[in-house]
């Protein structure tokens, strides 16, 4: 992936990415904020796509464009390795931008609000179809889970091999453990075809 060779060794910082997905309000940004060494940053992407939505396209009559904000955070693993966490836009009408956001991700976390299980279907289906390793993290919010891990697994039809865990997105260590679980799982399933994600 090195595109030119003008750097010295000291310059050889590398980065990696974990995607944080889930329904609107499930706790994605809270998770990112708990583990990130910087406050979650928002950047704007102007996306061009064959979207059916009703965003203003008068400025570019031949294209459908929309501006979406996405949050990300950062963890410096060591001097040469930075890990970024990117939250997917929660509204499903921004689906089409997931490919760009997810490209090159080591894996994904699907954050689930047990009271709104149906909002997680999109994300689970997406990662299943793309064969991107993901774990399901049930956000405890105030300490209560409306359903057990097994019930959620059944409701969302999560394969047995995929870890489903509960956590508190507000808690740094708890959220960090979710990332650890995700990375362990991604590495274990790392034997998959390298060409599946493009």
């Amino acid at each position: 992936m090195v595109s030119n060779d003008s750097s010295s060794d000291a310059n050889m910082k590398v980065s990696t990415k974990i995607v944080i997905a889930g329904g609107f309000g499930a706790g994605k940004t809270t998770l990112v904020g708990s583990v990130s060494e910087i406050p979650p940053v928002t950047t704007e992407a102007i996306m061009t796509a064959a979207s059916n939505d009703v965003d203003d396209t008068s400025a570019t009559p031949n294209k459908t464009t929309t501006t979406v904000a996405m949050d990300f955070g950062r963890i410096t693993i060591d001097q040469q390795l930075i890990m970024y966490m990117f939250g997917t836009p929660g509204q499903s009408r921004f689906w089409f931008m997931w490919d760009d956001l997810v490209r090159g991700a080591v894996g994904a976390v699907v954050v689930v609000d047990c009271n709104r299980l149906a909002e997680s279907f999109d994300a689970v289906d997406y990662f299943e179809n793309k064969q991107i390793p993901y774990v399901v993290a049930l956000n405890r919010f105030d300490g209560q889970l409306a359903y057990t891990v097994d019930q959620v697994r059944e409701a969302l039809e999560i394969p047995e091999s995929v870890p489903v865990i509960d956590f508190d997105a507000r808690d740094r260590r708890s959220s960090g453990r979710v990332l650890v679980t995700m990375l362990e799982y991604a590495m274990a399933s790392g034997k998959r075809d390298a060409e599946l994600v493009g």
């Binding site: 992936m1 750097s7 050889m12 990696t16 940053v41 704007e44 959220s175 790392g190």
Partner: protein
């Protein structure tokens, strides 16, 4: 400097990218970029946006960070960075995706790092 903060830039960015919306380099949101020679002064005749990128990238930054910090939309940032890389001005760092067995060591390092941070 302040003109970029106006929200009227919906079309304009793509005029200075020559209408291109795809970059030729593997510039993902997490990809780190840095100027090839941090000690050099920026080349002359750079567009203001590219000059801002140049100054920011004296230290390695991700594409998303460049976009957020300079308030340049992501797609435009990617194209500008791609051009700077073509000219050998900006270096694009490797991105670890986990898709190659050769990356296992780095992922092990990431895992140990996370375990250390969140034990």
């Amino acid at each position: 400097m302040s003109y970029r903060r106006r929200r009227s830039t919906r079309i304009r960015p793509y005029t200075f990218t020559g209408g291109r919306t795809r970059s030729r380099h593997p510039l993902m949101v997490q990809t780190l970029v840095s100027v090839a020679d941090p000690m050099a002064s920026p080349p002359r005749n750079m567009m203001p946006e590219s000059r801002d990128i140049y100054e920011l990238c004296r230290e390695a930054r991700s594409v998303a960070e460049v976009s957020a910090e300079l308030k340049i939309p992501l797609g435009v940032t990617q194209v500008l960075l791609s051009d700077l890389a073509d000219q050998g001005i900006v270096f694009i760092h490797p991105t670890i995706t986990g898709h190659s067995p050769s990356e296992n060591q780095v992922l092990e390092r990431a895992l140990r790092g996370l375990e250390r941070l969140f034990q």
